[in-house]
Symmetry: C2
Subunit: 387 residues, 2 copies
């Protein structure tokens, strides 16, 4: 019996110019281009191992130690695309093992709690397609592979690169030109840090796909955003990254987060992702920047209340100091960093911000997907964890 | 000694198509036309008495029993305009007493607590200009007078009429064509009711003038709102009023409230007027309409968290029933109405909505300003209340 295996890890990315609106729901083609920062896999990553064997009976997926059926159309579409590329290779080289015809076993794990409400689908689909690309030894480059990840989850295509990434919306109906490209590597601007504030929230958010459809169909302001606002902002943000101009980058990031939530609010019925805690964080960052008389920190919010605060390493003490003052009691602070930066909180803060925040995750810009020999699948093609 | 007096009352109005943005700050000229419903003076009104006498030493204003200095440029502009019109009359008829040269004593009272956070400036400036117009026996019609009230507070011009009122933005630089007109009288559609939910809020809202300036200067979506969204909506809302089409009127009202708060959020820094309680009310109204499979209630929010719910009298039991379920414990319910409609609350509601609402005010569409012989000023030209 032959069991072929491969493994990869892939990062989370957080958009600074938001993807909101599909022009094609099945192919996940967006109504505007977007930009993101890839976060360090040391803190947030999906690790996926895949195995192919003629002895397997069907495609199977173990996600965070639980066997899940592969019934999602999006996952099926990704697997079909990858098998098609492999099949083309096999047709040209008849001595290749016919992996495209073998069922797949997929084992995937996140190094962060799903409960945190962090969008893990981007890292998940990126790790999936990269692991299978490795298994199939596909020659396509990351931008090509990103088009397959995109079909799984739109924003997943941006997790195919490290550093600073653009998802070019493309024009073609078949989506062949809608793909991720690197704007700049992590090494270009390695000083970019991110603090993720996980917000406690009891209400169920509108799923992003549903929300996007509603905004496209009902917001009167949306057309202006995608036609006029985003294209201009895209070029400006790209320049700010190439020039490492944090003040510009931060301002554009905050404005675009607000613009995205504005068109959500302008949808009918309105969609709210920001809650009162999110608003307090927004206020806190603007106050900090005002006090410093410079933009040294920038917030952004996805389709949920969690905040991501970007800042440069040189301002770490100021930015984290400002957060620590209100949030010293929440989990996630690293003692070594708190000591090193000499962060203090005299407990006299009148703010009840800590009540709305459950956790802080301190991270920064990071690398793209990595191949690894660390396999989550054993020689029988089953999860090493034994579930 | 001759003391000339006159009195008037004027109503509050709540916009259903929002005024947000000035093209001229001094003249209060708006960037878009707006529409409002005038509310009944039985529940919310300002009562103003004015007196003129050559024996007075200076213009004086008693507001809710407190002597205030008249130093607001806006009030001074209104008084100057009214005196100018009076002066023109006096110049033509030399036997008229020269009231335009006499100092004014002004006494003004609201029949609702200022603490409720309801914008009382509209009713206040409307009552002021109507009372002085009566004192001066000005021949100008209400639309003409509305231009003077507009200089006091933009939305005040709409309080010069009862029923359903449009403020036509106008094109002229001097503002001479920016005035209120009646779309339809209260009698045309007397079944319109309004429930005002006064929201408890500890934070200080951005003053509307400051907020407007910030939105005009910084929101990328704002230009689209005023150029494309509002003009179309204005015509649609006007038709819905003339046709008494509540479903259409309600949908447009909710959409425009959301659009206004969306451009606030799109401002930089973002402006938030809606809080988590406001959002719960929005959700509650959409749920109610969904259950009824028809739009029977519509929310709107001004530059603060307070909600105004419009509905037709025939749906009073359904709409107030839905509110009473969550809000039976807040003050402002009329026992007679609760009994008549047989409203009940079994206290089993899981919602904590009542915690965020301090008061309900039940009212409906009403008449415009009224002259009255009920004077708040005595024969000596001082407040009857004796302060």
């Amino acid at each position: 019996m032959g069991v072929y295996t491969a493994s990869a890890t892939a990062p989370v990315n957080i958009a600074t110019l938001k993807y909101w609106g599909k022009r094609d729901k099945k192919l996940n083609l967006p109504t505007n281009s977007s930009i993101s920062v890839t976060l360090s896999q040391a803190d947030l990553r999906t690790h996926t191992s895949v195995a192919a064997s003629s002895d397997f009976h069907e495609d199977k997926l173990w996600l965070n130690d639980k066997l899940e059926s592969i019934k999602s159309e999006r996952t099926i579409a990704c697997l079909a695309d990858l098998r098609k590329l492999r099949k083309e290779m096999e047709d040209q080289k008849s001595d290749l093992p016919p992996l495209s015809t073998y069922p797949l076993h997929i084992v995937s794990e996140n190094n962060f709690p799903t409960a945190a409400g962090l969008a893990s689908s981007a890292a998940g689909f990126a790790a999936l397609v990269v692991a299978i690309s490795r298994l199939y030894q596909l020659p396509q480059d990351m931008s090509e592979i990103s088009k397959i990840a995109r079909k799984g989850s739109g924003s997943a295509c941006r997790s195919l690169f490290g550093g600073y990434v653009a998802w070019i919306m493309g024009d073609l109906e078949n989506g062949e030109d809608s793909k991720a490209v690197e704007i700049a590597s992590a090494e270009h601007w390695p000083e970019m840090k991110a603090a993720i504030l996980v917000i406690s929230d009891d209400k169920k958010d509108t799923p992003s796909t549903t929300g996007m459809q509603s905004t496209v169909a009902s917001s009167d302001l949306f057309q202006w955003r995608v036609k006029e606002v985003v294209p201009r902002r895209f070029e400006e943000m790209k320049s700010s990254i190439l020039e490492k101009d944090f003040a510009k980058f931060g301002e554009l990031t905050m404005k675009d987060s607000n613009s995205f939530h504005a068109v959500c609010l302008d949808s009918y019925p309105p969609i709210f992702y920001l809650n009162d805690t999110s608003k307090k964080i927004i206020k806190l960052i603007h106050n900090l920047n005002e006090t410093e008389n410079a933009i040294i920190a920038a917030y952004t919010f996805d389709a949920g209340p969690n905040a991501v605060i970007y800042y440069e390493e040189k301002n770490e003490k100021k930015v984290l100091g400002s957060l620590y003052e209100h949030l010293s009691s929440v989990s996630g602070w690293k003692d070594s960093l708190v000591n090193e930066l000499n962060l203090t909180s005299d407990g006299s803060s009148n703010s009840d911000l800590h009540k709305g925040v459950s956790r802080i995750i301190l991270t920064g810009v990071g690398e793209g997907p990595q191949g690894t020999n660390d396999s989550l699948i054993n020689e029988q093609g089953l999860p090493c964890s034994g579930v």
